[in-house]
């Protein structure tokens, strides 16, 4: 008997007991559709976390200045300024896993335009900072190399700042004052939204590092090489922890900190925290999917049950087929094909329902879902495997029947 004949026989047999076939497939349908939906929800959540990591800048750590103790009073982080632009250059040059090390200074200033004003975080940055933190320009342009180098009187503003200072106006080309220094808005930054911790990342203004030190901050910053922070972007997510150690070692060496002495800097590793969150999301997804997979097994047992009933019911048919020349292998194939047809059909309906359900969840629950082709192929493959696994025993039972007994079976 060819496989095509087997398939035709299987479809005839399944159609003969249509309601029973549908009810039997229901287990697989529910199993597969919930696997698809759960995986889609899991991947969607994972993607959302990944996106928020991307917005912070992926694989980054921030090196901040340490604290100084003056007369018993311990200053907070950043009170002891020891990081320099040379440190940043050294990190980028000497540690292979570091993609960029971006020095920056920061302060909080009142921005004034005409009769409106707004207090925001002003960052003095270099070109590397834009790369490290994954900032993009929305309108206008970024700073030119000359502006970076020679303290150009220019500023890039975040979307929140643009809304506050220029409601309904085009900010490009306007001149605002930061700490009484007039600077021209040359561009606006693409919106990033909130951090996973709820901070508004768009409430920010960037000026070249040189401008910040010479014109805005002034004082001790003017002539010195010192910076407020160094943002380090590592090439691979896996090497962040290693890189952190190398950065620590190199900075200790450069700052001549003796063995056992306290670091004069702090390293904040945000992306690692987020990676942990992504991992927990992933574990959650796996849990959901495995609950769904259990329902698939239950569905498979349902198929096995019905196939056993079917073999008993059709004992005479099996005897007849054997009398007409069916080998044991033919009978085995016929019933396995029947079980596979049952589960695969359930699988395909389940995939359709799963995709539909995912879209419904995405729309009604405003929840991100991501349907991957891989998950669909796995679900279909798994349902076929369920058919083989749970169909084999009943089919084997059928093929082991004695033709004489089977023909005489009432």
């Amino acid at each position: 008997m060819t496989y095509v004949d087997c398939l035709r026989a299987a479809i005839t047999a399944l159609k003969a007991n249509l309601l029973r076939s549908i009810l039997t497939s229901l287990g697989i349908i529910i199993g597969i559709s919930s696997v698809i939906a759960m995986v889609a929800i899991g991947s969607g959540a994972e993607t959302r976390v990944k996106e928020s990591i991307e917005s912070l800048g992926s694989n980054i750590m921030i090196v901040l200045n340490g604290s100084r103790t003056t007369g018993g009073a311990r200053g907070g982080t950043g009170s002891n300024v020891t990081l320099t632009e040379d440190d940043a250059q050294a990190l980028q040059r000497d540690i292979p896993s570091v993609e960029v090390a971006a020095p920056a200074v920061q302060g909080r200033f009142q921005l004034v335009f005409g009769n409106t004003n707004w207090s925001t975080s002003v960052q003095g940055i270099t070109e590397e900072y834009m790369i490290a933190r994954n900032w993009h320009i929305d309108q206008g342009r970024t700073f030119s190399e000359v502006e970076y180098r020679s303290a150009g009187k220019v500023v890039l503003i975040g979307s929140t700042v643009a809304e506050r200072l220029f409601p309904g106006e085009d900010p490009i080309g306007k001149v605002i004052r930061i700490n009484k220094v007039p600077v021209q808005v040359v561009g606006t930054l693409a919106t990033k939204g909130q951090t996973p911790f709820g901070q508004d990342q768009d409430d920010v203004a960037f000026i070249p590092l040189t401008t910040a030190k010479k014109r805005v901050l002034g004082g001790r910053w003017v002539k010195s090489n010192l910076v407020g922070s160094i943002t380090v972007k590592v090439r691979e997510a896996d090497s962040v922890a290693d890189a952190e150690k190398q950065v620590t070692d190199l900075l200790r060496q450069r700052h001549r900190i003796p063995e056992g002495g306290q670091d004069d800097f702090n390293i904040r590793n945000i992306s690692q925290f987020l990676a942990a969150r992504a991992e927990s999301t992933r574990v959650m997804g796996i849990l959901l999917a495995s609950v769904a997979a259990i329902s698939l097994i239950v569905g498979g047992i349902g198929i096995m049950n019905i196939m056993l009933v079917s073999v008993t019911e059709r004992t005479r048919e099996i005897g007849l087929r054997m009398a007409l020349g069916a080998r044991r292998r033919d009978i085995l194939t016929q019933f396995v094909v029947e079980a596979i047809t049952l589960s695969l059909l359930g699988g395909l309906i389940g995939v359709a329902l799963g995709i539909g359900g995912s879209h419904l969840i995405a729309q009604t629950g405003d929840w991100p879902v991501l349907i991957e082709a891989q998950a669909i192929m796995m679900a279909v493959g798994f349902s076929a495997a369920v058919g083989v696994f749970f169909g084999f025993y009943p089919a084997r039972k059928a093929s082991k029947l004695d033709p004489i007994d089977a023909l005489r079976y009432e």
């Binding site: 003969a16 007409l324 069916a326 080998r327």
Partner: protein
């Protein structure tokens, strides 16, 4: 002397049931030539069913030998026996044993699917076999849409579709009224006249009287091997009945063409 179609030598079958041995068939040594029509008779438990199972290659003997068309089939494994049943033996059962959800044509094609005959050839052969039993106009009917006699005709078409050496019929008229039974026996006699060897297992003397030879069994042993001087001619009985009542088309339709489909 030509090789007999069926030859057995001290063929025996013993069943082990509940610690004791039941000797269902004891030392059967017979020869059946090609073209014979033989009835196997005996009360239940006499060994006639066991004899048919062995001769039909559904079962293997406990002892002795069996040659079918010159080939020793007594020691073959189940796959080889399945192959022989498929090609050399046709079965007709009391309860017809048709697949309820398949059409007459699909039912007749069933042995051919196990013989791996290509689909188009299958259709041709099955159509020919159905025409030979007078059911050319019922090919797409399901068993539930056919009468008992028609169902048995489908079963006979299924048995002869592969040009078997021997047709084994187990109580073929047991589920039919006497007139339909006579039609079926007439069909067997016509097939036999065409050259097919027919073995009918029955407990009914009247059915057995259609054969030219009767093998009688009792307690697992062959007790009599009689030639029938004047077998009942079923076609005449059918014709006589049809004289009284107008003949149904199915009974007289096939008389024209060849009864046994030739190999295509």
């Amino acid at each position: 002397m030509t090789t007999p179609l069926i030859r057995t030598e001290t063929l025996s079958k013993t069943y082990h049931i509940g610690g004791g041995d039941v000797r269902a068939l004891v030392d059967l040594s017979i020869e059946i030539a090609k073209g014979e029509m033989v009835a196997i008779m005996g009360p239940s438990g006499s060994g006639k069913s066991t004899c048919m199972n062995l001769l039909g290659c559904l079962d293997t003997p406990s002892a002795g030998n069996y040659w079918l068309a010159g080939e020793d089939v007594s020691q073959l494994d189940s796959d080889a026996l399945a192959h022989i049943r498929n090609e050399k033996v046709g079965f007709v059962f009391q309860q017809f044993n048709l697949l309820a959800r398949a059409t007459a044509l699909d039912n007749v094609e069933l042995p051919l699917t196990y013989g791996r005959v290509p689909r188009r050839l299958r259709h041709q052969k099955a159509e020919k076999a159905l025409a030979a039993v007078g059911l050319a106009d019922r090919m797409d009917h399901r068993p539930s849409q056919l009468s008992g006699g028609q169902m048995q005709r489908v079963a006979i078409a299924r048995a002869i579709v592969n040009n078997p050496h021997v047709l084994m019929a187990d109580e073929p008229t047991g589920a039919l009224d006497s007139r339909t039974g006579a039609e079926i026996m007439a069909l067997f006699q016509r097939l036999n006249a065409e050259g097919i060897t027919v073995i009918v297992v029955t407990h009914d003397e009247h059915v057995a009287a259609h054969a030219r030879r009767i093998l009688r069994f009792r307690d697992g042993r062959l007790v009599a091997d009689e030639a029938v001087a004047a077998p009942v001619r079923a076609a005449e009985a059918v014709a006589a009945a049809a004289g009284a009542v107008e003949a149904p088309g199915a009974a007289s339709a096939p008389l024209g063409g060849p009864l046994v489909p030739e190999a295509v």
